[in-house]
Amino acid sequence: MSGKKTLYDKIWDEHLVSEEPDGTSLIYVDRHLVHEVTSPQAFEGLRLAGRKVRAPEKTIAVPDHNVPTTLDRTDGISNEESRIQVEALDKNAKEFEIIYYPVNDIRQGIVHIIGPELGWTLPGMTIVCGDSHTATHGAFGSLAHGIGTSEVEHVLATQTLIQKKSKNMKVEVFGKLGNGVTAKDVTLTIIGETGTAGGTGHVIEYMGSVIEDLSVEGRMTVCNMAIEGGARAGLIAPDQKTFDYLKGKPHVPKGSNWEMALQSWKELFSDEGAFFDKSIDINGGKIAPVVTWGTSPEDVLPINSIVPHPGDFDQQKSLAVKRSLDYMGLNPGQKLEDVEIDTVFIGSCTNGRIEDLREVARIMEGRKVKDGLRAMVVPGSGLVREQAEEEGIAQRLKEAGFEWRLAGCSMCLAMNPDQLSPKERCAATSNRNFEGRQGRGGRTHLMSPAMAAAAAVTGYLTDVRNLM
């Protein structure tokens, strides 16, 4: 081995507590994020074994998946099972003395939004959560990935994780994005290119001029969907933009600690000539605004395309395409721009941040949500919501015809009452278009916030560039 390391190698080595001859390793965990769905059994396990949380000050919990997003939620959650799950988190957080943002705290929100927002997420860290979209935090140059419930319990008890090292994969997006093309189009295009298993067994590092040009929030959108490409985690080397973004956030180090941290963060990049097991290059200049047409995130096409024919694919995929076109109610050869939608959902850990809402407000300027369309904006956190209200975005979106909700996962996975009905077709800024994801029989088209706003205006899947 040359002494040249990738960013992933560097973070891994820094956190290696011990390693067995077969490569099974114990990795130290800097931050453990917790939500109500995948944690109750882990806390129960601790209780039964009489164990404590080893590092409560590194453990941050928030309810997000099950919480209602309507204003009346202060009156309590009416679905009994959801209520019990949230109450269990209330109780566990208190009993185990971990950091907690309950439903009615202004800082409550989607776990992957509030981590960076409050400064819990820092470069060079290892971050885990019982949730596959933990990859989001990789945008800061931290190694972040999802874990199962037994692993949640393991981290709570020991602050470490048993792991084998993944392979390194590089995704370079070069050139410059065109007008109307956003981080979401970049990440969806990458998945379209590599397929949903393209990153399996790897940690992806995103690099290149397009990634450098993205805002920190845009980079979070890119890393968020690394998991949809099969990768365990996505990483982006931190730079001056990252440091500026972090500075002053509540839990970011201050004073001399900040200076020291900064010195160490500046070492977080892949060495020139470091080895990657797999590499792909994508020309950013060729990326168009895209939408998904099927029931897998890899089923993605530029907006001005037509619905593909099952016969265009190899045999195994062909069957899946046939099934998904049936499910989606689409015909091969149909223009994507002729597809009429019923609902617009703006939110989720992919696109529920302030910049996303600003983008939607910008497209909606002087326009209205088409009559008869259901359109909702669910800010990713209470603080995002507050910021949008201060900036007047909330007011503009409400006037344009959007429902303005409280923070949570909401219709991203429909565990709360925000669900699609069978055959209801939704333009969504979330990250999964699986069958039934947004409600039984619901039809999801994934896209950027700008594209979702354009769809809200016309009532059809629409090329946002026509409205710019």
């Binding site: 114990l26 059994q41 099972e81 799950q85 602050q159 900040w258």
Partner: protein
Amino acid sequence: MEKFSKIKSVAAPLPLINIDTDMIIPKQFLKTIKRSGLGKNLFDEMRYDEYGKELENFVLNKKAYRNANILVAGDNFGCGSSREHAPWALADFGIKVIISTSFADIFFNNCFKNGILPIKLEKDKRDTLMLDAEKGSNAILTVDLFDQEITRPDGSIIQFEVDSFRKHCLLNGLDDIELTMKKIKKINDFEQTYFTRMPWL
């Protein structure tokens, strides 16, 4: 975790391929706060009709197999979402051994964390056991983890492979946490140098 002992039980045949974790335990049961109690919803959509009545034809509803501790399954068992609720549901029902030709990665790992032994066999051996399993209440198999042997109803034996570390953990009922707890000094030492170097953490 309970020690894994020799399992002697009727084996239920489930010849479907690609049984995914959604089929093992559908999404509506993820709202539970317990690991236990999921057994009644194991294979929910195959096992019950829309009114919650048992479907007679489903293998685990047949008298001979209601108490099976062993499943003999089609290829690629446990694919799909990573939910640990799938092995929890199987374990809660009483399944301790699953025999197939292949398993999805995460599911395979999750089984060991929950006291279930997944056994990978070549196709012809699995098919032989599938035929045995189809013999109803006479389909008694004995799975001996220590000797890595399955004894068929006719007394003949099929050997299987298992990772030695995982075998050790199952036999001794060790879970990952207990093992890591033994390394607590290493973690303490690590923390000490780590936080000296990075005091802001």
